[in-house]
């Protein structure tokens, strides 16, 4: 865990963002404390604190004095909006490049995306449909 190219605190912040995006962390839910984070992942507490501070600055988390850090209301919706903007450059373009290198026809890629989307639609329950509603 945490061995990408980015500094560890950016990776921690990213992981929490992903948890908020996926709904694993709901609005108003308390996140682990700096202390818990540091001991669980065996990292320096200043590193963990840096990640939390960044998320507070971004409005993903907010601090309740003496209690801890919580997921900000509306954080997920904001993250969804931001992630949509970067989705094509960060996620789709590399797929197109890899497919090009491997000589995989675009139609095959599209077919795969359709099949996967149909599978997700069939297995996903109503809790994630507010994303659909936002469209």
């Amino acid at each position: 865990m945490f061995d990408g190219r980015d500094p560890v605190y950016l990776q921690i912040a990213d992981q929490i963002r992903q948890d908020v995006l996926s709904g694993a962390l709901a609005a108003e839910e308390q996140v682990m404390s700096t202390t818990q984070y540091a001991t669980t992942f065996r990292i320096n507490p200043a590193t963990a604190a840096k990640a939390f501070n960044q998320l507070v600055d971004e409005g993903v988390l907010y601090k309740r004095r003496g209690v801890g850090m919580f997921v900000a209301p509306g954080a997920r919706e904001r993250l969804v909006a931001e992630s949509r903007e970067s989705f094509f450059t960060d996620t789709v373009d590399p797929v197109a490049e890899a497919a090009h290198v491997l000589n995989i026809p675009v139609e095959d890629v599209v077919a795969r995306l359709r099949a996967r989307a149909a599978h997700l639609a069939a297995t996903t329950d109503t809790t994630t449909t507010d994303t659909e509603a936002a469209r």
Binding site: F2, D3, G4, R5, D6, P7, V8, Y9, T35, A38, T39, F41, R42, I43, N44, P45, A46, T47, K50, P94, E97
Partner: protein
Amino acid sequence: MTATPGYGVTLRGVTQRFGDTVALDGVDLEIRPGTITGLLGRNGSGKTTLGSLVAAFRRPTSGQVLVDGEDPWENERTAPGVCLVRESGDVLDEDRLRDNLDFFAGARPTFDRAFAAELMDLFELDPKSKPSKLSRGKKSAFGITIGLASRAPLTVLDEVHLGLDAPSRYAFYDALLADYLAHPRTIVLSSHLIEEIERLLEDVVVLDRGRVLLTQDADSLRAEGVSVTGPQDAVDAFVAGRTVLGTQRLGRTAQVTVRGGLTDADVARARATGLDLGPVPLQDLFVHLTDPRRRDGAAPAHAESEVLP
């Protein structure tokens, strides 16, 4: 959180000679109070000498050492607050562990007997045995017990855990982190096991042949090293003008380790030319930076940047 987050350390132009040998050569250094700072260096780089100076085991040949703003030499205020544990243990070899604990508890107002007992259990140390009769691993464990239970505002642990097996080392890291969180203080951790300790560190000091090679916060240092892998020509074009730390070639593929953060534009350019960017662990960065082949002919970081007329 306590009122004292720990002692800071400042060295100004510190030189330490032993006869013809220069152990430390004009060292300027700052260790921030309340941090876990990693002191890294190859054998003979001056780490142990630095520890001895800070703990006032000796005075420097020249220059100034400050601990919590004061000269630690024969200083009654700072002495009880500085705890140096070296690989050798620095304990009373012929006294039972129990009596050793009594001795150190008497010498240090911050010593916590209950925590010491906990650590003795954790490392399966028998209070009735003597340090001289212990295995290397158990000796290390006892040094760690003294070092952590002292809760000194400045604790210097110099290669204390080299003799421990892997499970005991992880038990040590966990105990260190948990106790540091509960009782913030300055901890200087020197170790060759960089891979294992790097995440514990807030700051890093690298010594090389008696000089400070760099002082930096660990996270940004780690982000500085990048490995660039891909077709030889594309790699060479990408790394031109950067500080190259190491190069490996296999057939037409090259992997070059560079120092210096990449911008988003750099990352995009690398991706567009089919290059893979990867992390460089702190340990590899350390190996590159202290490579003797780099030492004399090493180009300064900005040697290749253009100078406008």
